[in-house]
Symmetry: C2
């Protein structure tokens, strides 16, 4: 084993997934792993622009995210405002089965510590993918701001 045995740097993950290791992909993957909640394009562009290096092209960012989703390294979801949000999939099961709180005000997603209920029975022909117990409301920050 070499020094990469500190298990899965972004570059390792990309190599393991069988796609080229490029600076853009490494940066995006780092950003996703560093984020505590799914990021949309805007947030990601801002974050990548702020880290010193030259900002990625908007289209390139879309394509990088698509390639990460295609090879299973990222997950794509939609927030309450209809905007795509991406999260790292490198830590399997972390988001697979648990409860999310979606703020209808700011669109943010928060993870709640609680066991999700078992999935219900489905009609014939329906195939189960993921189960998400979605709780909507106003998050602490927006609640406070509203109260002003």
């Amino acid at each position: 084993m070499d020094s990469a045995s500190i298990s899965s740097t972004p570059a390792d993950l990309l190599r393991a997934a069988g796609i080229k290791v490029t600076p853009g992909r490494v940066r995006v993957l780092q950003a996703l792993h560093g984020a505590r909640q799914p990021l949309c394009h805007g947030e990601m562009e801002a974050q990548l622009g702020a880290d010193g290096a030259a900002a990625l092209d908007r289209v390139t960012l879309y394509r990088i995210l698509d390639s990460l989703v295609a090879c299973g390294l990222a997950l794509k979801a939609v927030d309450t405002r209809g905007v795509f949000r991406f999260s790292a999939a490198g830590t399997p099961r972390q988001h697979a089965n648990h409860i999310h709180f979606r703020c209808t005000d700011c669109g943010g997603v928060f993870c709640l510590k609680a066991e999700p209920p078992p999935p219900p029975k489905l009609p014939r022909g329906f195939r189960l993918g993921e189960v998400e117990f979605d709780v909507r409301g106003t998050c602490a920050g927006c609640s406070a701001r509203e109260r002003e």
Copy 2:
């Protein structure tokens, strides 16, 4: 009681909600009540164009839907492709607390007959809005089509 006691025609609902009764709103409300699942703008335009009368302006449709949501006669949600879908809210509680199945393939929404679990405890400051138990996967139609 008068002849309107056949309970809530679209016009009655609009009057009761305190907004003007216009042909467009009546048609949209009828379409919403007739739909078996939430409709997006495209579907609604198609449906309204097909019913003989002149098609509504795209912007007018948006505004009508917004006004219906504002006065509580319709509900707005986002599908898996990030598109807004609207449903009639005239039958309260019908959608308030039950389980939805979202097809990740065609974006359709199906209602399952099952009791949703009780909402979990929220962190301090968070205010509960709605609870939705969201099950994702592939619907019967798309499953069959994939199997070809």
